[in-house]
Symmetry: C2
Subunit: 432 residues, 2 copies
Amino acid sequence: MTHEIGIGFLGMGNVGEKVVATLLERSDAFREQTGATLTLRRVAVRDPGRARGIDLPAGVLTGDAGEVLDDASIDIVVEVIGGDGAAGEYVRRALAGGKHVVSANKELVAKAGPELFDLARASDAALRFEASVGGGIPVISPLLRDLPANRVVAIRAIINGTTNFILTNMAQRGESFDDALTQAQELGYAEPDPTNDVDGYDAAFKIAIMAGLAFGAYVPPEGVATEGIRSLAPQDFQYARELGYVIKLLAIAERHDDGVLARVHPALLPESEPLARVDGVQNAAQIQGDLAGTLTFQGAGAGAAPTTSAVLADVLDIARSLAAGARPHWDPGPWRNGETLGLGALETRYYLRMTVLDQPGVLAQIARVLGEAEVSIAAVEQRETDEERGTAELALMTHRARELSVTGAIETLRGLGEVIEVNAMLRVEGTT
Amino acid sequence: MTHEIGIGFLGMGNVGEKVVATLLERSDAFREQTGATLTLRRVAVRDPGRARGIDLPAGVLTGDAGEVLDDASIDIVVEVIGGDGAAGEYVRRALAGGKHVVSANKELVAKAGPELFDLARASDAALRFEASVGGGIPVISPLLRDLPANRVVAIRAIINGTTNFILTNMAQRGESFDDALTQAQELGYAEPDPTNDVDGYDAAFKIAIMAGLAFGAYVPPEGVATEGIRSLAPQDFQYARELGYVIKLLAIAERHDDGVLARVHPALLPESEPLARVDGVQNAAQIQGDLAGTLTFQGAGAGAAPTTSAVLADVLDIARSLAAGARPHWDPGPWRNGETLGLGALETRYYLRMTVLDQPGVLAQIARVLGEAEVSIAAVEQRETDEERGTAELALMTHRARELSVTGAIETLRGLGEVIEVNAMLRVEGTT
């Protein structure tokens, strides 16, 4: 006799529809794989009367989440609502009630991970969330199941498709941020309110989750130093290219002696790095383990079908355990409250762009200020910008320096009469 | 009370030493992760008297594999002997005796997979082999655990570090195959007898395993159409570069309507493809699922530390299940005997290099022969090679054509008086 496993859904947008459709279409294959029949019981949505892109069996759709959460015949709840409002309440109730939860909700897991894991542990339920980071690219599973013998040293990732699409267009077509954003919006790659993506919050949720799993220490989203891409100008891409670099929004988490440094910001990356060639809406994550070395995982980081692949991987894994009579709990372990470091702990190379007076001795002045702050210059490019006003633009790359030294030096530079503005400070990642 | 799990080793070369050392060094972390104490019981080696790079606890080393296989206190056997001789016998005995087996042995799994899975199933034991393909890169686990909802369409991989190192040197330094091989041997990247690597057998074992898992149909190693890299000449790399391609030894498995086509051969790959930039001893695998799209996994495909990462991922996964009182069996499902297709089923683009008489009308003759075989030419380069003898070299790229048409046309070309030799025929992968 095959085991029967009841599945309930919370929410049903594009991703939910694709998950449900796949579950219905491939039920025979999934039965063969798991030894269990996966039965769709209930789908709770805000507006059950709305037209859907999928024909659901009669009686499945409901406007009441309670009909999913309180249905004893539902073993696994798939949450595809998103955000930490209603979704958070429902997931807590589902876990407290002993239901296994598969969620694609990065915001919820990033903000409430430790509490949710405790809830799951207390009621012997599984909480799985592969789809919360990297769409169809396995990034959670490698951290939990493929690299457990490693001490993870660092994670470096391009995990926001919207910004990567915008940056790719700025780099390849010389577009301004505003034009590239408009185009992304027209193509549906950016929301009407793009804040969550372009200011780096989405990537911050994702790196917070990855850092927690990699380092066993909870990194709250507000512990991730986050800068977006709004201030990037076309000439930054041009200078970067001349210096042999590309500009990417990177999400980085590193283990330091005294804590974890997690950050999201645009950065210059050498053209020779594998991540430098991850363009458009593609995502990629590099995980550096002390045994495995640097592993790169690349693919589609969003979209209904890739996300469905990730959601169903978790559902099928739980189903397989249940069918075998085992507990499907995959516990990431207690997330201790780790020490989260700020950018003050950072030491790397820096790219600076500034507008200066086009007169003799200015570069010497700037070099002196940087030198006094123990920041040494590796490369300089100067370009006349405004003959009438007598100004020039200076782009420079430093050797490895402390972030605090660089930001201190920038303050001093801003006080110089010869420096009209320091327009950009970007970190440089990769080979030192 | 923590569960105690006994571990035994069969063989202990470089990889085995690193696995044992890591197991001993990280026992506390592993206990915390799995809920079990992993205790090293026995290590069976051919010559227990030989000096080792590791201090083993007294009484662990033995010259008798039976002391591992018959020790009731050993739950998990790690096999790092390799090959299908003694290792095969021991693995069969271990599984038959209900011991879980973690193996790094691609040859054994590729040749005897179905039999071993049946043995494991019959005695409720797990057989795990992540380390058998791709060193520290997760490639088995993605197929089994991350992509189960997908219908896998194709796998394309660079999974032999030795040949990739040789091809990278031939491409970047214009070296001959013999010189590049000698250098690889001097650096320890190639064996004194390099056959297994350079003739493609190692890659064939690995793609056979991946194909079996991806398509649920057993592909025996002899069902993989296999060509090595010995016949590649420096000018092939030069023509490839001029046409915008690189040459890589690819291992490919594709699902066709009537079966699985698995092959290992050198191929031209567009420079823009991610796999084209996988150089030196790096490995990478692309798995194309109908939901997830194309995923790329890249990293170190060999070496003691990366392989240890993979072996221990399997050991820890089994230990976690045992500690939770569950059956650790991860069954890839019955490998049906699938229909294995030959290269006759292939349709792709082709690169041909030939030596011809340098006289008017030769190209027209060649184009006529190809045209009659329904092979159309996409690009041609001609170069005078020997003024005295009046010969020239012709490199050409075809449009998409049937393999049988191309090989047939080559036969006809060889019969033409104007064609001195058809020196190379390489398949072209990637964008058509």
